[in-house]
């Protein structure tokens, strides 16, 4: 079937079988390989993307469900200069990236949290990434990076 949606701000369309998951569509049909497949059953969060601004597991959504809607993948998260944005830079600065496989999902989970809760507590940050597994178990640095970004964005807003 023909599927159209807005991907990282750009309208796209492609043909795919109706039972294609959004994850497979992104990786195999659209070459957006930043979105990772970990478990394939909604347990690990590596395939997290934003659908109309909401964090979802792309392995548990049909590509057809995204038809006519807005999808943001990790490729759509960057600074205005095309470099890593402040959250991504914080992941680097705080040593939050080890093997890196979970990081696209973690960054999107962080962005989804900060979009509706600009000043999260550490507990809220942990809750927001509870659906994202890090096999390297570097959770503390990931929480640190999200917390620091929230603080800096707050300072920028109030400056």
């Amino acid at each position: 079937m023909k599927i159209e949606f807005t991907l990282n701000g750009c309208p796209i369309h492609f043909e795919a079988p109706a039972d294609t998951s959004l994850l497979v569509a992104l990786r195999d049909y659209l070459d957006m390989t930043g979105t990772k497949e970990g478990c394939g059953v909604g347990e690990c969060g590596a395939c997290s993307v934003l659908l109309d601004g909401k964090l979802v597991n792309s392995c548990l959504i049909l590509a057809a469900q995204a038809h006519g809607r807005k999808v943001v993948t990790i490729e759509g998260i960057r600074g205005s200069d095309g470099e890593p944005n402040d959250l991504q830079q914080a992941f680097i600065d705080y040593g939050a990236v080890q093997c890196g496989f979970c990081i696209p999902g973690m960054v999107l989970a962080g962005e989804a949290l900060l979009a509706h809760n600009p000043h999260p507590s550490r507990l809220e940050i942990r809750g927001a990434i509870a659906g994202n597994l890090c096999r390297c178990t570097g959770y503390m640095q990931i929480v640190d990076a999200i917390e620091a970004t929230a603080r800096r964005r707050g300072e920028t807003r109030h400056a």
């Binding site: 079937m1 079988p17 109706a18 039972d19 294609t20 998951s21 059953v41 909604g42 347990e43 969060g45 997290s48 909401k54 964090l55 979802v56 597991n57 548990l60 959504i61 049909l62 057809a64 469900q65 038809h67 989970a109 989804a112 809750g127 927001a128 509870a130 659906g131 994202n132």
Partner: protein, 291 residues
């Protein structure tokens, strides 16, 4: 070649027509977090999914008088952040908050949870504790069934083929009622419930218990109120000894309904303690009153 086709319904009447269109075996898609896995594991279970998740009226949460109605396609995120539900059914908020993680709660719906009727479905014990009623549409009429009757056993409901679960509603509990949902899983997030206990109750001005409802999840094949345990409490002053006695009765009822299984050794003391804990939570006024 796709195993099934996909079609999106814009309104309820269209969804019903599509679900009953001859030549197809259609099933509603009400989130997809369970359905997509089921279709992967059981190809041919249906040949078309009818996406009902973008029908605006199925997301509506309303209160008319003392009746709260939740559209079947309301996501767990929508329910737990809704002021009507927060005020009238704190235990449903607690139950929805324990479902999966953000990614699941943003997509999975209460209607999907009920219609899929997994043994571990977190919203079911809370809904049964609220004496919730499901409204099911077929092309020619609408049925209202208590959720406790709608869900017969794990993965089995009385929703007829082509039927559409439209909404779930409950009467706002009497003033002064408090409720609590207690879940036991291996960890806080993304953990399938091993055991859940939903309770609701209130005392009169003398402090005597006048109403209690107790429902367990992942404990019995059929999710229902446990009348014998409820009867232990009514007419008495709250006390730890009374909560423990009610917990004992819940465990007895669980074993009577489920039989002794490999897990009973673990579940028996757990359900006793969780029941006593939940009752203490509402009768020691730890939880907010419904409004």
């Amino acid at each position: 070649m796709a195993e099934f086709s996909y079609i999106r319904a814009g309104e309820v009447s269209e969804a019903l027509a599509l679900l009953n269109q001859p030549g197809y075996t259609s099933r509603p898609l009400a989130g997809s977090t369970d359905l997509i896995l089921l279709l992967r594991n059981r190809p041919g279970w249906c040949d078309r999914v009818v996406d009902i998740t973008l029908i605006p009226e199925l997301h509506r949460i309303t209160r008319e008088g003392d009746i709260v109605t939740i559209g079947a396609a309301a996501t767990f995120t929508e329910i737990l952040s809704n002021p009507i539900i927060q005020a009238t059914a704190p235990l449903l908020v607690q139950a929805c908050a324990t479902v999966g993680a953000v990614q699941i709660r943003n997509v999975a719906t209460i209607g999907g949870n009920v219609a899929n009727a997994a043994a571990c479905a977190d919203s079911l014990p809370a809904l049964v504790c609220l004496d919730a009623v499901a409204r099911v549409l077929v092309p020619t009429q609408a049925f209202s069934w208590p959720v406790a009757e709608l869900v017969v056993k794990p993965n089995q409901t009385i929703i007829p083929p082509g039927g559409l679960l439209e909404s779930l509603s409950y009467a706002v509990p009497a003033p002064g009622s408090r409720s609590y949902f207690n879940k036991l899983g291996r960890r806080k997030a993304m953990a399938i419930s091993r055991l859940t206990v939903a309770v609701l109750g209130r005392v009169d001005e003398m402090g005597t218990i006048v109403e209690t409802r107790i429902v367990t999840g992942s404990a019995t094949p059929h999710i229902c109120r446990l009348a014998e345990a409820e009867a232990v409490l009514v007419g008495h002053q709250p006390s730890q000894a009374l909560f423990t006695a009610a917990g004992r009765t819940v465990a007895d009822e669980m074993i009577r309904l489920s039989g002794r299984r490999w897990s009973t050794e673990f579940k028996e003391p757990a359900v006793m303690a969780m029941t006593a804990q939940a009752l203490a939570q509402i009768f020691d006024a730890q939880e907010p009153e419904v409004a």
